[in-house]
């Protein structure tokens, strides 16, 4: 196969095109996703390729968009919703949490809600407090929702196709800074699916086990290359879906490293990543720990507008290097 280093936008677009080709019941809806090609250019030319029936521009009403999608899903369609900024899911919360997540269970499994909600998440674009949040933890706390956080173009394509196949709602959190970055792995041209609920061991090392989500996966990988030079090697685990969460590779890795570090962009307080720590310390995996668990997360502040402060508010590569070095050096 020829060299196919796509960006995450391109990979997501390929996945959606495959789904549109494979299943007539798939359609996409959202604000500015048609003629304009999406706020971040993810849908691109899909409107021109598949037409306005299957790539539908909607009015500016997130509640209306998700409500429409829930109804369509209940009547046999497979809608893919795009929310321009994940922050705006707050507008659609009733439809997501009280309707989409619950219906399958409240009718004894008799109905399905096969909808995918894609949302642009995270900071780093200078868009300030209302357009920069990492809200995956909200959804991970709602039973009935699956939550996916792709970390690379390859992962994004395979996970999105699996999410579209899923019979019930999937929240798909895409980090904005990853949209325009070309991945390091080739993205196969055809369809492939990455099952939801299976963690990926990105790399293996002997000193430290790092669990990181979304953009923190590539940041941790960059940190790992630096740490390699110092003789500190880390295992990196990307849960890919934070709900359901596959912890087995974490437990297995801790038997070898004995040190755990968790990294997320979302604020530390009440964040999803704490669940990883909780699962370790409430299992027999605790007995393998040779160091206190290290935690790197966003500060408990709204994302600031000033670029320096925006950067300082969430973990960067240097922070990861420093913390990892400290944990390994202090705990032998």
């Amino acid at each position: 196969m020829s060299d196919r280093k796509l960006t995450m936008s391109e990979a997501l677009r390929e996945a959606m095109a495959i789904a549109l080709d494979e299943r007539p019941e798939v359609f996409i809806l959202g604000e500015d996703i048609g003629i304009y090609g999406g706020a971040f250019g993810v849908t691109g030319d899909l409107y021109h390729r598949y037409g306005s029936e299957r790539v539908r521009d909607t009015p500016i009403s997130e509640l209306g968009i998700v409500g429409t999608a829930v109804g369509a899903a209940l009547s046999g369609m497979r809608p893919i919703v795009e929310i321009q900024f994940s922050d705006f899911t707050a507008q659609a919360m009733d439809q997501i949490v009280n309707q989409a997540a619950k219906i399958h269970f409240m009718v004894g499994g008799g109905l399905h809600v096969p909808l995918v909600l894609r949302a642009a998440s995270g900071s780093g674009t200078g868009a300030a407090g209302q357009h920069s949040q990492s809200l995956e933890g909200w959804f991970a706390n709602v039973p009935g929702l699956k939550v996916v956080m792709p970390s690379s173009p390859y992962e994004a394509k395979g996970l999105l196709l699996a999410a579209i196949d899923d019979p019930n709602p999937v929240i798909f959190m895409e980090h904005k800074l990853l949209y325009k970055v070309a991945g390091t792995e080739d993205v196969p041209e055809g369809a492939y699916r990455i099952p939801l609920g299976v963690s990926r061991v990105v790399r293996e090392g002997k000193d430290l086990t790092v669990v990181a989500t979304g953009i923190m996966v590539s940041r941790t990988l960059a940190a790992a290359h630096e740490l390699d030079k110092e003789g500190i090697t880390l295992t990196l685990i990307d849960p890919r879906t934070i709900s359901p969460l596959d912890m087995d590779p974490v437990y297995e890795s801790l038997e070898k490293t004995g040190r755990l570090m968790v990294v997320q962009e979302a604020p530390e307080h009440g964040g999803f990543i704490n669940e990883v720590i909780a699962k370790v310390v409430t299992s027999t995996s605790l007995g393998h720990l040779i160091a206190p668990v290290a935690r790197l997360a966003g500060m408990n502040v709204p994302i600031p507008y000033a670029p320096q402060l925006e950067k300082a508010a969430v973990p960067q590569v240097d922070d990861i290097i420093k913390k990892a070095r400290e944990v390994v050096a202090s705990w032998r």
């Binding site: 004995g258 007995g287 393998h288 720990l289 040779i290 206190p292 202090s330 705990w331 032998r332």
Partner: protein, 351 residues
């Protein structure tokens, strides 16, 4: 006949006694003892005493270690006795009993087994300790905050190396003190009322103030080894180290800007704690300071170190009155007692 376990404790022998040293244990586990038999010997700074058995019985367990200092009330050994023994709480006055119609019976003291929970250790160290039946209290911690690390328990060789390093350190200090034993010296103490700030702030102020006085009185700032040192004032500050104590030397601290000295002090304290005093700070002292302001120790007699002419110690401020005891030891070959008291006065007024 029912038997009782009775813990014989470190007794409170004076109103001010808080702890005592266990000098000797006269019995062994399994020995039959009679009421009044001597069980062990205790020493305090004021008095040595033999502790007698309160009842007839059998020595069941010995918890105290000879040579160790134990808090008043700490169990030294356990007797199994058929006699119910009254135990006394030394801290509360006895109630006045007008007619002792009935002897009140106190429940025998039950001593918990080794409290592993109070020892700080990483989870894996606990697992290994349990698997191998190791008492965590017997392991020397090398981890942050006095925590037993995985390496401490799984690699006794390293832990052994740590202990050996500690022992070597102790031997070195003891050897140094031994060398100065023959030097004619005097120690003077006086009270000082001075405000104490943070640990490093306080030490930095002390070090630079004493250095200034030594610089003004050059015959006090004398190394008995090297003439070169006259040019400089070098003060060894006694600090905590993972291997015991360290004595990094601050050279000419009085010539530095206060903030620079403070930063230097903070950095050195960290290095000392990690057992890594920079080589250039190991020598060149003419005086030592033992700053106990932030401990519970009210005074210590400063001991001269080889080549030093003075040694200073500052105790913790008295809880009620706020004064601290400052003690100065001088080498009488270079300074007489009257001069020494003058220098001590100078220091107190400067502080």
């Amino acid at each position: 006949m029912s038997t009782f376990d009775y813990a014989v404790i470190m007794p409170k022998m004076s109103m001010t006694m808080e702890e005592g040293e266990l000098l000797a244990i006269r019995v062994n586990v399994g020995d039959l003892v009679k009421s009044g038999d001597v069980l062990f010997d205790v020493a305090t700074d004021k008095i040595d005493m033999e502790v007698e058995s309160p009842a007839d019985g059998v020595v069941k367990e010995i918890m105290g270690q000879i040579g160790s200092t134990m808090l008043v009330g700490a169990p030294v050994l356990m007797l199994e006795t058929t006699t119910q023994v009254m135990s006394f709480d030394f801290n509360t006055p006895s109630p006045v009993v007008e007619t002792p119609a009935e002897v009140s019976i106190v429940t025998p003291v039950v001593i918990p087994t080794s409290p592993q929970g109070s020892v700080k250790a990483v989870p894996k160290a606990r697992v290994i300790a349990r698997e191998r039946g190791i008492d965590l209290a017997s392991i020397s911690p090398t981890g942050p905050d006095g925590t037993i690390t995985w390496e401490d328990i799984s690699n006794p060789q390293l832990a052994g190396a740590h202990d050996a390093r500690k022992a070597a350190n102790r031997k070195m200090v003891a050897g140094a003190i031994e060398k100065t034993r023959g030097i004619p010296q005097i120690s003077l103490t006086r009270f000082s009322i001075h405000t104490t700030s943070g640990l490093d702030e306080g030490s930095a102020h002390l070090v630079s103030t004493w250095a200034r006085i030594l610089r003004r009185n050059v015959h006090l700032n004398l190394s008995t080894i090297s003439e070169d040192l006259r040019e400089h004032v070098g003060i060894a500050l006694i600090m905590e180290s993972k291997y015991g104590l360290a004595m990094p030397v601050f050279r000419d601290p009085d010539l530095m800007a206060g903030n620079d000295l403070l930063l230097w002090m903070k950095k050195t304290r960290e290095q000392a704690r990690a057992g890594k005093v920079p080589v250039e700070m190991l020598t060149g002292a003419t005086a030592s300071i033992f700053d106990l302001s932030h401990t519970k120790i009210s005074s210590a007699i400063p001991l001269l170190l080889p080549s030093h002419t003075t040694a200073l110690s500052v105790g913790a401020p008295n809880a009620s009155f706020g004064h601290s005891e400052i003690s100065l030891t001088v080498d009488l070959r270079f300074c007489d007692a009257l001069e020494a008291s003058n220098f001590l006065d100078q220091l107190v007024s400067a502080l």
